[in-house]
């Protein structure tokens, strides 16, 4: 899209200029760093993260590895790519934590509309495909028809759903109301689901929870109560790839609130650059485990840090560009 001039466009001129010079001066580097900063901000990478990132890149760019390089510009881009991949990849190579004694308990948490319920279905489908016997748990009793939604998702995935409470729905459930004013107790549902899973020999339990804001202390406490009632092996924080600068505050709030163990980046099938991935990984140090990239059950994959780095900075294009230079 023309209005979103990529880093490629911005840097191409700089590199043309640099190429004729061969060696990079400090001013050259600073100019390039400014473009990188701009590109990261346009990709929604958090400002603080941009700042520490560019200063690290600048330091390396001024060092020997660049001044000694055959093609200094190319070397700078390589450094950027490496640094990005490193932050994104911190601790990524780990599989899902399974319990020594089943059931393995996975709890989902995140902002409203982030993609938790959809993810529950995907996880269930994925686990089932891998030979597990998952159970989905409807512990969102707040959003209208969240329980119905999980039931439909479970049906599509052919995975059973534990839903003793109907939550908010017109068909015999609670009426729509502000959160916190409802009858059903999501903590009890979550707690009871574990015994149910043990009795019925399900080996993984995926608990869908209501969306909540980072600033909502009351609901954050509820999430913590759910966590403490079930002691999850994984607490997955689901975050929308389209999120902007608020990613930091939200991730910190959930990190503090429930101390999540891993991140799932959702809606990556869109055209957002997804700088939030970098922000969340960098600010919380928690690994990004999975990517959700569609509304279908199978639109789900393990996270690849290098692909994400390329996406954030439009790096594929840049590398081609530099090869051509």
């Amino acid at each position: 899209m023309a209005a979103f001039s990529s880093l490629t466009d911005k840097l191409s001129n700089a590199f043309k200029h640099l190429k004729s010079k061969g060696k990079l001066t400090e001013a050259d580097i600073d100019g390039t760093i400014r473009e990188i900063r701009r590109a990261l901000l346009d990709a929604d990478v958090a400002l603080d993260v941009v700042r520490s990132f560019t200063s690290r890149v600048r330091e390396r760019a001024l060092g020997e590895e660049v001044s000694q390089a055959l093609n200094p510009a190319q070397q700078v881009v390589k450094i950027v790519n490496e640094e990005l991949t490193e932050i994104l990849g911190a601790g990524v190579d780990r599989p899902l934590n399974f319990a020594k004694n089943p059931p393995t308990i996975i709890m989902l948490a995140g902002l409203q509309g982030a993609g938790k319920t959809t993810l529950a279905g995907k996880l269930g489908y994925w686990l089932k495909d891998a030979g597990h016997t998952p159970l989905l748990v409807a512990a969102d009793l707040q959003r209208p028809n969240a329980v119905t939604q999980l039931q439909v998702v479970g049906e599509r995935a052919n995975v059973p759903v534990y839903a003793p409470e109907k939550g908010v729905q017109s068909d015999g459930g609670e009426a729509v109301a502000a959160p916190g004013q409802l009858g059903g107790d999501p903590v009890k549902v979550a707690r009871d689901s574990i015994q149910y899973a043990k009795d019925k020999l399900y080996d993984t339990v995926i608990i869908d929870t209501a969306g909540r804001l980072g600033v909502d202390e009351e609901l954050m406490k509820q999430a913590r109560d759910i966590r403490d009632a079930v002691n999850p092996n994984e607490i997955l924080f689901v975050i929308d790839a389209m999120i902007g600068q608020d990613a930091v505050q939200t991730a910190e709030a959930f990190n503090k609130g429930v101390d999540f163990t891993g991140v799932v980046l959702s809606k990556l099938d869109g055209d957002a650059r997804g700088g939030a991935a970098l922000s969340v990984a960098s600010v919380t140090g928690k690994p990004i485990l999975f990517v959700s990239n569609g509304e279908g059950l199978k639109d789900f994959e393990v996270f690849h840090p290098d692909r994400m780095a390329s996406r954030i900075l439009d790096m594929g294009d840049i590398l081609t560009l530099i090869e051509q230079a």
Partner: protein, 301 residues
């Protein structure tokens, strides 16, 4: 009550960064950067933020002063001007010459708050004594129609839905607009499925929904629901939705969170379409008209 609590937490009109600046007599380079940071953190975007700060600096140069108080005032009023350039924020259905039935289509990417806003809007119109009908033209997402039906029951308005899951959303829109016309209701609100703007076939479907509705009734409002946490991708969303179906207004949802929603500044500028409403929570009454001053104070908080 919860809402008020939430809002009062962010009532400080000028945030920490700006406050530090204001304690000085003269502005240094780093202070200008702080001003820019404040805008960036609110998702105003690098281009718009840079432009604003450049203007401020220019003004300061011309007047020969970099008096922090003046700069503060100037920043605030520049932002308000920018945000408030779109004056007419009334819903078309609320205008004295409103068509009857008035037709509103809700659109946006996945999970922004379309269905919830549909419910809240229905509640608003009902409270004004208007008759309302809802159409569940999201036949795709699991239990989307049930969710709308729950809202319909809560606010006491009928919901037209497809007999089967996975039905054709355009035929729901057609059927609903036909019924709305026959029954001469005041307002018909059509809820559509969330879709990402880079999916061409889904965007085409929106155009079709509009066209079949117009066989029965003119569509006088298309509201794009943007989530306040949305970053720079919000601009792409606005452009593509505007091309696909035409947008007459923006709803900025989830403004009760910590996100400021600064992307709507560029969206308004670019599309020439105003933010009409803001979402402030999940309850039926958590909907308010957009207030430029409050919004700007939120950004500077």
């Amino acid at each position: 009550i919860r809402l008020k609590e939430k809002l009062s937490k962010s009532s400080n009109p000028f945030g920490r960064v700006l406050f530090n600046i204001l304690a000085k007599d003269q502005l240094a380079e780093s202070d200008w950067e702080d001003v820019e940071d404040t805008l960036l953190l609110a998702d105003v975007g690098s281009e718009a933020s840079e432009k604003l700060v450049d203007e401020l600096r220019n003004d300061a140069r011309i007047t020969g002063t970099a008096d922090p108080q003046e700069v503060r005032q100037s920043l605030r009023s520049k932002l308000v001007d920018l945000v408030d350039s779109q004056s007419d924020r009334a819903l078309n259905a609320e205008k004295p010459d409103a068509k009857k039935p008035s037709v509103i289509i809700m659109v946006g990417v996945n999970g922004t708050g379309k269905t919830t806003t549909t419910g809240k809007l229905a509640r608003l119109f009902v409270s004004e004594g208007k008759s309302v009908m809802l159409a569940a033209a999201d036949t795709f997402r699991a239990a989307a129609a049930d969710q709308l039906e729950t809202w319909g029951q809560k606010v006491g308005v009928p919901v037209v839905r497809s007999a089967s899951e996975g039905g054709d959303p355009a035929s729901v829109a057609f059927e609903a607009s036909k019924q709305a016309k026959e029954q001469n209701v005041d307002v018909l609100i059509i809820d559509t499925a969330g879709r990402l703007q880079n999916k061409a076939n889904l965007m085409d479907e929106l155009g079709k929904i509009r066209r079949v509705t117009e066989k029965n009734l003119p569509v006088d409002e298309v509201l794009l629901v943007l989530d306040a946490v949305t970053g720079q991708n919000g601009m792409a969303q606005a452009k593509v939705f505007a091309e696909a179906i035409g947008i007459t207004g923006v709803v900025l949802s989830k403004l009760d969170g910590s996100a400021k929603g600064g992307i709507v500044i560029s969206v308004q500028q670019e599309l020439g379409v105003p933010v009409k409403l803001v979402g402030l929570g999940e309850g039926p009454d958590d909907l308010a008209s957009f207030d430029a001053d409050g919004f700007v104070d939120g950004i500077l908080a």
